[in-house]
Symmetry: C2
Subunit: 493 residues, 2 copies
Amino acid sequence: MSETRTATPQTPTPERPFGWDRGTSAARMAEPGEAGRAVLAELAAALPADRVLTDADTARPYVHDEAEWAEYGAPLAVVRPRSTAEVAAIVRAAARHRVPVVPRGAGTGLSGGANAVDGGLVLSLERMRDIVEIDAGERLAVVQPGVVNDDLRAAAAKEGLWYPPDPASAPWSTIGGNVATNAGGLCCVKYGVTRDYVLALEIVTAAGEIVRVGRRTAKGVAGYDLAGLLVGSEGTLGVITEITVRLRPARTAPPRTVVGFFDTLADCGAAVAAVTAAGLQPAIFELVDRHCLKAVNDWKHMGLPEDAAALLLAQTDLPEPAATAEADGILAAFEANGARDALVSTDPVEADALFAARRLAYPAFEQRGDAQLTEDVCLPRNRLAEMLERIEEISARHDTFIGTVAHAGDGNLHPLIMVPPGDPEAKARAQRAFDEIVDAAIDLGGTVTGEHGVGLLKRAGMRRELDPGSLAMQEAIKKALDPDGILNPGKVL
Amino acid sequence: MSETRTATPQTPTPERPFGWDRGTSAARMAEPGEAGRAVLAELAAALPADRVLTDADTARPYVHDEAEWAEYGAPLAVVRPRSTAEVAAIVRAAARHRVPVVPRGAGTGLSGGANAVDGGLVLSLERMRDIVEIDAGERLAVVQPGVVNDDLRAAAAKEGLWYPPDPASAPWSTIGGNVATNAGGLCCVKYGVTRDYVLALEIVTAAGEIVRVGRRTAKGVAGYDLAGLLVGSEGTLGVITEITVRLRPARTAPPRTVVGFFDTLADCGAAVAAVTAAGLQPAIFELVDRHCLKAVNDWKHMGLPEDAAALLLAQTDLPEPAATAEADGILAAFEANGARDALVSTDPVEADALFAARRLAYPAFEQRGDAQLTEDVCLPRNRLAEMLERIEEISARHDTFIGTVAHAGDGNLHPLIMVPPGDPEAKARAQRAFDEIVDAAIDLGGTVTGEHGVGLLKRAGMRRELDPGSLAMQEAIKKALDPDGILNPGKVL
């Protein structure tokens, strides 16, 4: 990838609701070989004409996701079905001719999992965006994969219910993509990740068959947990065409926000550990490091203390007076571990301003025009400070600017590696820093990806992290469910 | 099976901590063929002598679980390893000679999943009972598979932590068995099932290799969720030799208990639906039907109203005053739907007495000397009353006594089918009733097993419930991970 991409969403249109501007050049399209021509002919016969894009210009928004530096290939075509039957027809045609299929949602992924492969079909689920059903009595929703996360949350809210998984991409990313990557977010420190909400899936298998897995009941152990296996499989085991998720009752208590600035990363880590040790369960528990504080100050002149090593932000959502007790407990843990400017806020406007430092960190860096590579390592909670110190050391040694935000309560860090455009030497240094961060996470007992997925960027790291026996089992399962390897080949494994 | 078994646990001994008295006859042992002799010779060479039992008398407690009527075979031997390395040696020997291996924990299962198969090894994990680690900072525990559920809960409590999954077998059943069956319990209506707590597993594969799957971090998406796939796989995909579970902070609020007696099953079902619709989340939400009330009265003379159709029992564990608000909300939902004798209790002694009707239902039926077949269907919550009415109808039509307790909040029913010993005609009628209950559950959109597992008893029902494509995927995974079919053959699939 040579062009710099910007992550500004375009105005959605009915036909391209999730389109992103990723530069001005057209996509490279594959020159169809014999198999490619056969597939295109079958698609033309089976589908209305508007389903298939082979033009390099219109295909452009579909060839890669938001993972900086991840390779992407020249696809044969982009296909945008409107129904499960159309998805099945597409996969059957691809399977007959052994043409790869890369499923994608909104393309907001950060690991290259949705990137086109040479000569393959990009299968965009963006047009399958019906909320099929919200059943308040059973506390569940059934949606098509192209439904945007925030749209499901809004629809659930109308029924007094709540869909918790809230990746930062929630305004654009789709439930299908969230399920394929097992997306996390801010709330998962208390409420769990996407997998914890998936009850059932309809999928199209590698052979093009439509299969239902999972159940609609609260519990169930009839057979292997195939729905759970599909969650996080990044389109390599099946194409998800319908999703049944459980919902929770809507939260009604106004949140209390607790903030504290820390002079050292060690103090900050100790404060996180103290909150856990006290048995407290904040609904949000985030960290913003000094580089991010400075970037937000530079951009928005917010007067955040730049001499602090990091800011911790917690939010509690219990009903009163438990909320006050929990907020006070968090504040006490912060103060006992050296926090300054620590406070509890109940004012939503003030709370929002406090969270601005977290929310604006990414856009603040974008203002600088640097390419950003978003890391996603997850550590045992108590290794948080140690990992942050290693990141500082790696950053200095490779002369690479790295700012970190983290889901502190989960030990999930997102170091943002910044590289000025047009500086290949800086890019090479940054890539070494990326590799060393991954290795440091493994060394400290963590994982190479907490919530963004393996895609392309974490394949090597995953092989370093996992037991070879575990990799062999994964390869055996992939081979069993996709013997010809047509589903998103080269991703994950 | 011809003998009647009683479920009274014997006094535990170090060597047989989970032994149950299942009648007086010795086990039938297989006459070793060539492969069997080779395996026994390899085991004798690889293991200390006390690990292998081939005597029909000492093998007796290991040949079946607590599933009434489930078939069990004549094993070659019972093997009781003390380490993962020993488990691996056993499975390697079995794999070399294609001898089946049936892993088992305490044998408290209710589906026949741990029953011996002819000529196979029974692999008892009961001696691997170390609590390896409890890490309060990370809120996790690492245990060997033979650790008893209640023992883990007690060890966690000492650290101010809580392991929620609480099957009724918790005083005897092991974490390994709980993981293999994805056990549920009373608390799962609010706190989830075993799968929701498993972070990582060490397993021995069908080839006898030791493999680690999963992670120690709060989140992680590096590769397919193999740990989740192993949970509930009933020993058919790997032998679980170590388990890492997440823990929650201990609950501190004293529970409030809400009870209500209902004149009709329809009212009772409406009350359950009303609790859900009000956004309430009791930590326990149980149902006891009139047959169980009468059995408890007959035995303990408790004076429970036998003219009621059913009793609902709920418990809230929120801190005050949210607990009072929730308890009052549940009471209001009960009363608005025709409950009588409804009340809220904060007195633990009174609460315990109220729960006695639930707790004593099984032992009350045991007093009668009948054989009990425990059903385990799970319905969409709002079909609860309808399913209870169908069970009454099935019971009457087949002249078979059926009493039902249920995890009402989950829609998980446990109809207990009672058969007098020595009455083959009654047994045949009961088996027809069993099949019809399974079919009714499928018909109403439910599943044939909510938490007990497929084992032997639900294989046919599972095949009727699931999409054929889902069964084919499961068979492909089984074939991929256990190509020679040595792990618990004939179970689940």
